[in-house]
Amino acid sequence: MSKPIIMCLDDQREVLSALMKDLEEFVDAFEVIDCESAQEALEELETIEDEDGNVLLFVCDHIMPEKTGVEFLSELREESRFETARKILLTGLATHEDTIDAINRGDINFYISKPWKQDNLLKVIRQQLTHALIDSGQDHTPYMQWLDQETLYKILSKRV
């Protein structure tokens, strides 16, 4: 089986590469894919579905031309694709309306405002990855060093 996938979306090239740089430690165990638009991400997801790939996490900007991050995420939700994947919205200039939308329609699991602190982002990503990996039914043991231990304890202590 190929590596589980983390997908990052941002229309600004520099922001995207900064994000990819911050996520460098994950590339040994996960495939980190970068997309500059929702359209590109959707095409990428087609391929992933064809190859039976396992998307664990979306890290998504909101304000993008053509399709916003929330629109993209809510589309995935409506089509029930990648249901066990976790969604992080990473955005700067979101209005109050956008934020409400993100929670109600985008079904996001975490909201991080730009500019982000790397420590904080990594912690959130580890937590969300832990949930997603266990929910997707994959064996977590090979990925243990990339997961958030506290979250893992919480989940595993309930698995008698």
Binding site: M1, Q145, L152, Y153, S157
Partner: protein, 473 residues
């Protein structure tokens, strides 16, 4: 699938087919039948798949059961049922007894344990007990460590070692940060939890799956009751705990003078929680007093299953989170043992190796050391699954073992040994979890782990000797 896994799977299957299609005469086992040859092929496949793990270990069990149904059952594929010579063919096995391994009493005993553990976790009985039990140990770090170990061991007698470790590490890791970063004692604390969980599993028949596998072979005249197991399991566990505690403090001395652990919460008092407390206590009491009421431990295990289902304490959603994979892993082991016994392969195999030339002491030593070595690198349950059928046949056919306790002694010895491997992160899931905390390196585990393995084995021999002296065997 990764390339390396594919290659391993390919080799395992190749070995399976090679054994399957060898001419019968070329197999160096006396008077081997065609059915025995098939079981041998399945056994070889099981060994390779459980050692290399190209597929999840529970799926190997499912594969074993399916192959048995297909190739050696009375309702298998017709090609596997036709034969010209009944003598060299052997006796087909009733398909019901192969399928029945999924619901063997042993499996239901474990299910009862799951229901107890799950309800205790759901209604915070575990957290609250931990809070109350830890209090008397004060705030001297050394005593706190022993307190944590005792609680871990007690819980892992009824919960899975993995869940216990997860729960206790969740309690431990926040306070660990309070210890000085240079304090070696941090390592001692992080190792104490998985080691105590591994050792604690030995306390009851449901403490860890290898015990359950062993129980399968302890039937009839040599049956061991729940309480009977605890009578020797718990004292062994206590001695090991004290030893591990001393050892860890010796290797990684704690410098800090104070450590406070606060566990929040209070005992729930609504009727569902009370039902959990009462049922839990009642089940354990019934398990310990089998002789008084006549119900064996398997029947008693259905009590928590029934009470918690009827009262809605365990819901449909809870039911779906049960570790069915562990139950299936054990079923596969039972099915493998069943096939080896019913076809006569295990006895035939044992008789083809001149074991009687060896001293019985050498046989006990090699069996137990082999168990520890295998369990170091692979699943403890898979180790027991593979070794127990052979040990059962060995114990019965080897008369020189009889004065030492015979098959009962050998089975219990190997069961205990299967849980003594803890020197690597891969040895047990609790070890892996402790390693993932980042507080210890692999090598920090090796030294204490190896000493515990060695001393643990010695204590097993001592235990077997005492059990023989008190005529338990």
């Amino acid at each position: 699938m990764e390339r390396s896994k594919l290659i391993k799977l390919f080799f395992a299957l190749t070995a399976f087919f090679v054994v399957l299609f060898l001419p019968l005469e070329s197999i160096p086992i006396n008077s081997i039948t065609l059915l025995q040859q098939r079981v041998l092929a399945i056994f070889v496949l099981a060994v390779l798949l459980w050692v290399w793990e190209p597929i999840p270990i529970f799926s190997t069990s499912v594969l074993i059961i399916f192959l048995e149904l297909l190739m050696i059952s009375d309702k298998g594929l017709f090609l596997f049922r036709t034969h010209s010579d009944a003598e060299t063919f052997g006796q087909l096995i009733n398909y019901k007894s192969i399928m029945g391994t999924f619901a063997s009493p042993i499996i239901l005993l474990f299910l009862g344990g799951y229901f107890l553990a799950m309800s205790a976790t759901k209604y915070k009985l575990d957290q609250n007990l931990a809070r109350v039990l830890l209090r008397p140990f004060g705030n001297n770090p050394k005593n706190v460590m022993f307190g944590l170990m005792v609680i871990t061991a007690i819980f892992s007698m009824f919960m899975s070692n993995t869940a216990t470790t997860a729960m206790m590490l969740a309690i431990l890791t926040p306070v660990l940060a309070k210890l000085d970063a240079t304090d070696l004692g941090r390592k001692a604390f992080v190792l104490a939890i998985p080691f105590a969980a591994n050792v604690g599993g030995l306390g009851t028949p449901i403490g860890t799956p290898p015990n359950a596998v062993a129980l399968k072979y302890l039937t009839g005249d040599i049956a061991v009751s729940f309480g009977g197991w605890m009578l020797f399991g718990v004292p062994y566990m206590i001695i090991m705990l004290i030893f591990v505690w001393f050892l860890l403090l010796k290797i990684y001395p704690v410098a800090s003078k104070q450590l406070d652990i606060q566990i929040k919460g209070k005992f729930l008092k609504h009727w569902k929680a009370l039902t959990v407390y009462v049922t839990f206590a009642l089940t354990v009491v019934l398990w310990l007093t089998g002789k008084l009421h006549g119900m064996n431990s398997y029947v008693v295990a259905m009590l928590p299953v029934t009470v918690f289902s009827v009262t809605g304490i365990i819901t449909v959603a809870d039911l779906k989170t049960l570790s069915w994979d562990v139950l299936w892993l054990v079923s596969g082991g039972i099915a493998l043992g069943l096939a080896m016994e019913k076809t006569g392969l295990s006895v035939n195999l044992i008789e083809s190796i001149p074991f009687s030339n060896f001293s019985p002491y050498i046989i006990i030593a090699s069996a137990t050391v082999l168990a520890v070595l295998m369990a170091t690198f692979m699943s403890n349950t898979a180790t027991a699954n593979l070794l127990m059928p052979i040990m059962a046949a060995l114990g019965v056919s080897l008369s020189s073992l009889e004065p030492l306790g015979g098959v009962k002694m050998l089975i219990i010895g190997v069961a205990f040994s299967s849980s003594l491997a803890m020197c690597l992160p891969v040895s047990t899931p609790p070890n892996a979890m402790a390693h993932a905390t980042g507080a210890i390196e692999s090598r920090d585990m090796v030294k204490p782990g190896m000493i515990i393995g060695g001393v643990g084995l010695t204590l097993v021999y001592g235990l077997l000797f005492i059990l023989k002296k008190v005529q338990f065997f």
